[in-house]
């Protein structure tokens, strides 16, 4: 469905843009049909940047993103519009996505004007009603309301309904539940899982490992723009091989057991990117080789890759 091949994003920073910030470096993974892939990482790991590159909101510095055989970065005009018919994003904060002056259903009107100019009014209303029912909303209760009259969960579902109006095949879900309350959170998550069974592929960007485990088949662990570990969710969660993944797993607050005595190494101040492993300065098992060579992804077991030269030693 969607294939990322060695993509990188470099920002120019500093007063005159003299310095470079590698937000994403050489990330490759693919998302199959009807597959949910979680992209997990701390803040600043480049997970949202990848989502934005897929949605063509920012340019790609190097590498290619191929969607159904078409290179996404070459799309222009009508081609790009076709692309947006099948690929859409939903973002973290549902409250600031809406213009508070207009009614919330204006987002649907915009879709109609842009993508379905020739559709008749009754046909459109049927379509709208269907997509609202699909996301578990009652059209009578939520249409013709201002954003402040709807709850966060409702607004977030509105955005999902908007994406569903365009026959989407691929959804970038960027932290879509972190702003919601615990009681409504799980409903939106279940909704995503239902959509998957109807043939949608989802890139689920999150920092919450328990949510990722709940919903996804495959997971990609990012650290400072590099892939640390990638593979089937059960394998990563059951047998984390990269020291960073192990540290993340140990830090997840759980209801069934208390935190163990795993020391959390706090993030050091972002220094310049050296040639070695990006995790070296926080890694408890790093040795001299780690500072020298950037590790590449190696297959540890079937469908489980890890980027650590010392994973075998443990």
């Amino acid at each position: 469905m969607l294939k990322l091949d060695n993509i990188s994003k470099v920002y120019k920073v500093g007063t005159f843009g003299g310095k470079e910030l590698h937000a994403v470096s050489n990330v490759s993974f693919d998302v199959g049909d009807r597959e949910v892939v979680s992209l997990i990482g701390e803040s600043g790991s480049g997970k949202s940047t990848i989502g934005k590159m897929i949605l063509r909101l920012i340019s790609i510095s190097a590498g290619t993103i191929v969607c159904n055989g078409v290179d996404v970065s070459t799309l222009k005009g009508a081609g790009l519009k076709e692309y947006y018919r099948s690929v859409q994003g939903v973002f973290q904060d549902p409250f600031s996505t809406y213009n508070p002056i207009f009614k919330a259903d204006r987002i649907f009107t915009i879709i109609r004007d842009e993508f379905f100019p020739r559709i008749s009014a009754p046909e459109w209303n049927d379509k709208l009603e269907k997509s609202l029912t699909d996301v578990g909303l009652n059209p009578e209760h939520v249409l013709d309301k201002f954003p402040h009259q709807l709850s966060g969960g409702q607004l977030q579902r509105f955005l999902l309904a908007r994406a569903l109006l365009l026959d989407v095949k691929f959804l970038v879900a960027d932290e879509i539940i972190s702003m919601l309350d615990a009681s409504t959170r799980i409903d939106v998550l279940n909704l995503l899982a239902d959509l998957k069974s109807r043939g949608l592929s989802i890139l689920f960007i999150t920092h919450d490992l328990s949510l990722a485990h709940y919903i996804s088949e495959r997971a990609v662990i990012l650290y400072r723009g590099c892939v640390a570990e990638v593979g089937a969710t059960e394998k990563i969660f059951g047998n984390p091989l990269h020291p960073y993944t192990q540290m993340l797993m140990a830090s997840v607050p759980r209801l069934d057991k208390k935190w163990g005595q795993v020391e959390v190494e706090l993030k050091a101040k972002q220094s310049g990117l050296t040639g070695g492993c990006v995790y070296e300065e926080r890694c408890p098992v790093a040795d001299t080789g780690c500072a020298r060579d950037r590790p590449t992804l190696v297959e540890a077991e079937c469908d489980h890759f890890v980027a650590c030269i010392r994973y075998k030693d443990k």
Partner: protein, 320 residues
Amino acid sequence: MSLQVKKLTVYYQTLRWVVRALEDATLTVADGEIMGLAGESGCGKSTLCNSLILLKPPMRLVRGSVTLDGEELPIGDMERMNEFRFKRISVIPQYAMNAMNPTRKIGKMTKELLESRKVDWKATLPELKRRLDLVKLSHDVLNMYPIELSGGMKQRMVMVLSTLTDPSLLIADEITSALDVSSQKAVAEMLVAFRSQGCCKSVIVITHDISILYQIANSIMIMYAGQLAEKASTEVIIHSPRHPYTKLLISSLPTVGVKYSERHLKGIPGSPPLLLNPPVGCRFRERCPVAFEKCIEEPPFVEIEKGHFVACWKEPAKNA
């Protein structure tokens, strides 16, 4: 008994409406206790804690009393509360990321802050440095501007600032919500370390993330729509909750190890009531799966076992 709150009721007064944000909150926090306060957004948990430290309009104190270490807190009186704020009762605010003055170096800001409270800066400096070590910040941060620190570092710096005067009660309002899992764990453990080292006597931790509370809190209080629903020790709340809302809330949390394909978790249907005109009786009635006729009356917050308080008609019937 470090903190005792009796029948605290706080409304938000606007020109036309009264929002009944907090009704008859009665609780005690013991010395050295870390109490977690959890609930959905808008359930009144921040109102409860703000009223303990800064009860300013549009908040209006309707009734209730607060006692800290046997001394009555004049929470309705902005001026007289100055004696207690920061020294006896302190807060790590929800906006800790933006709590520091961006135009001052952190050291200078701390100095001004202490001087405004008539605390000797020179005498406090060694203790300040010791606490910076405790939260693993280098002493250089005192010569830095807040913008040079990452979110987690700012959070830890504010934690040090808030506890400099060894308050009896520390209120931590959603301090871990904006952090990633690894810094979340570090900050939460530092909070426990602060309590153990006597930097503050008791702590109230507000959060909507119950799994964090399970890790650090001694007791947990669950609020719903401005009222207390249940309070008990952490183990009891997590493993044998009695209030239907607590049960639903805990069963809706996904934990590592649960997969959608194997087990469907369920949310709580419906949404919390508006507090402008709250329903009479139990406010959870409309979403409650076990509601019956008696729920039209307001359930009392009673102790059903030692240290286990529940506000539900289904529970106290046994020993009423």
